[in-house]
């Protein structure tokens, strides 16, 4: 097939170069074991009229080429940040295979990744709404099957996605302020209780996520998963916060 390359917006890729990013890529690059054909339009995927309008016009073009042959143009420098087991080329190859196998799902995800760029460049959009777009992407990844559990899986993925997005943003706030890149926290990051505000938002998200998680009749490995959701997810927050506090100390001295 013709190698039509539709570049994924560099802003999306460079901005997301962390846990969120490779989680998605990793899931896409998974040997297709867990991502099924069924695309599920859930009650949660409402996009407001205005956004839909903007996005359809811009997306038409990109959308066609992406559908034809999903390929990522991954900035070379970012390849260094990928886990060493996976090179950018390998990732691209696998992603293409998966996209060919599950066109609808890959379609939807690509569409929403584009939406993310759009939404990030819109001014004054509440951070909750921006995070929601990424939430919807993760939700797609988690709904691997169209059965009685799809709603719970959707909620699980959705709120985990919002958690990840916001955590990433918290990690990157200082860097983004310097480079002028979009960050949902740029307005509140100088507040005195900024760290606490972020923590509260994160707790809100992970709380909804675990509510959905606990509804699933999981028996094997459930304790491992619980360890991740109740404890593991905070590791990066802890590290970010330490880094910020240390930086502040240095600046004070």
């Amino acid at each position: 097939a013709a190698a039509v390359t539709a570049p994924m917006s560099p802003a999306v890729l460079s901005g997301a170069a962390s846990m969120a990013d490779w989680l998605i890529f990793a899931a896409l690059a998974d040997g297709g074991k867990h991502i099924a054909m069924n695309v599920y339009e859930s009650p949660g995927t409402e996009i407001c009229q205005a956004q839909r309008q903007i996005s359809t016009e811009l997306e038409e073009e990109a959308y066609k080429t992406v559908t034809a042959n999903l390929s990522f143009v991954y900035p070379h420098r970012e390849a260094e940040r990928l886990p060493s087991k996976l090179t950018a080329t390998e990732l691209k190859g696998r992603a293409e295979k998966i996209a060919a196998q599950y066109p609808q799902k890959a379609d939807l995800i690509a569409k929403k990744m584009n939406m993310l760029t759009i939404v990030e460049s819109a001014k004054d959009l509440p951070m909750d709404k921006v995070a929601k777009v990424f939430g919807e992407i993760m939700a797609e990844v988690f709904v691997y099957k169209d059965d009685v559990w799809k709603e719970d899986l959707y909620r699980l993925g959705f709120f985990l996605g919002k958690y990840i997005y916001l955590l990433d943003a918290y990690e990157d706030i200082e860097k983004d302020l310097k480079t002028g890149d979009y960050n949902p926290f740029r307005e509140i990051c100088r507040n005195e209780n900024f760290d606490e505000q972020v923590l509260n938002m994160l707790l809100l998200m992970i709380g909804e996520c675990t509510d959905a998680f606990e509804r699933l009749p999981l028996v094997e490995n459930v304790e491992i998963l619980r360890n991740i959701l109740y404890s593991g997810v905070w590791v990066r927050y802890g590290k970010s916060k330490t880094a910020r506090l240390e930086k502040e100390k240095k600046e004070d001295n």
């Binding site: 709380g207 459930v222 491992i224 360890n227 109740y230 404890s231 916060k241």
Partner: protein
């Protein structure tokens, strides 16, 4: 039906016991497992019953049953001075009141996005505005906005039972999360310092055991 009886568990069975019971029974009564057998039809009914029972218990335990009650009662707000829904609807109605009535209509019928768009038009925003906005935002997944607005509604009318209920529901997930996370080393809101040690242990376990699903990549990056 008595969901606990259906699953064969006691009323104070743990969540994990409930899940095990569900798994066993749903395997036994699964349509695929009983094709051609004389009990096939009866078991199909049983299968649905088991699913229903499981959902009922989970709903109850997460306070969703109360939430449903609150939802049904949603429009029975009292103690406000707004005159919507039947009273003084005609010429004396302001533009704002028209918008709110229209938004309410949308929201009652599940058109949350449309309802929110209409609410956007309203100039004067008080308790009811924030309440409807919180509700609709919660339904479409904007729970952070919903929380803000629910708090605002309660600030306007501290004695409003419905507002307080909605706020409780929106915070419900976080409340339950706090209760559970204590068992797993806690979360940052529980300790002032940054105790990385217990979490790293968890991460190692997580990485080892969940590596398979993501091609051996760690699910959570750690130190």
């Amino acid at each position: 039906m008595d969901p606990y009886k259906v699953l064969g568990v006691s009323f104070n069975a743990s969540d994990d016991e409930i899940k095990k019971a569900y798994r066993q029974l749903s395997r036994k009564y699964h349509p695929d497992a009983n094709v051609g057998k004389p009990e096939q039809e009866a078991y199909e009914e049983k299968f649905k019953e088991v699913q229903q029972a499981y959902n009922m218990i989970m709903d109850q335990r997460q306070g969703k049953a109360q939430a449903q009650q609150a939802y049904d009662d949603f429009w029975g707000f009292g103690g406000t001075t707004y005159t919507y829904g039947g009273q003084s609807q005609q010429q004396t109605e302001t533009q704002d009141e028209k918008y709110i009535r229209s938004a309410l209509n949308y929201i009652q019928n599940g058109y949350y996005r449309e309802g929110l768009n209409v609410l956007d038009q309203v100039q004067e925003r008080r308790g009811p505005w924030f309440y409807y906005s919180a509700f609709a935002n919660y339904k479409v997944g904007n729970n952070a906005i919903a929380l803000e607005h629910a708090k605002a509604a309660c600030a306007f009318e501290p004695d409003n039972y419905h507002y307080a209920n909605l706020l409780r529901q929106i915070q419900g997930g976080e409340t339950r999360y706090q209760q559970r996370s204590a068992q797993y080393g806690g979360n940052p809101s529980m300790y002032g310092g940054l105790n990385c040690a217990p979490m790293c242990g968890a991460c190692l376990v997580a990485n080892l055991c969940c590596g398979g699903g993501y091609m051996g990549l760690p699910l959570i990056l750690c130190c």
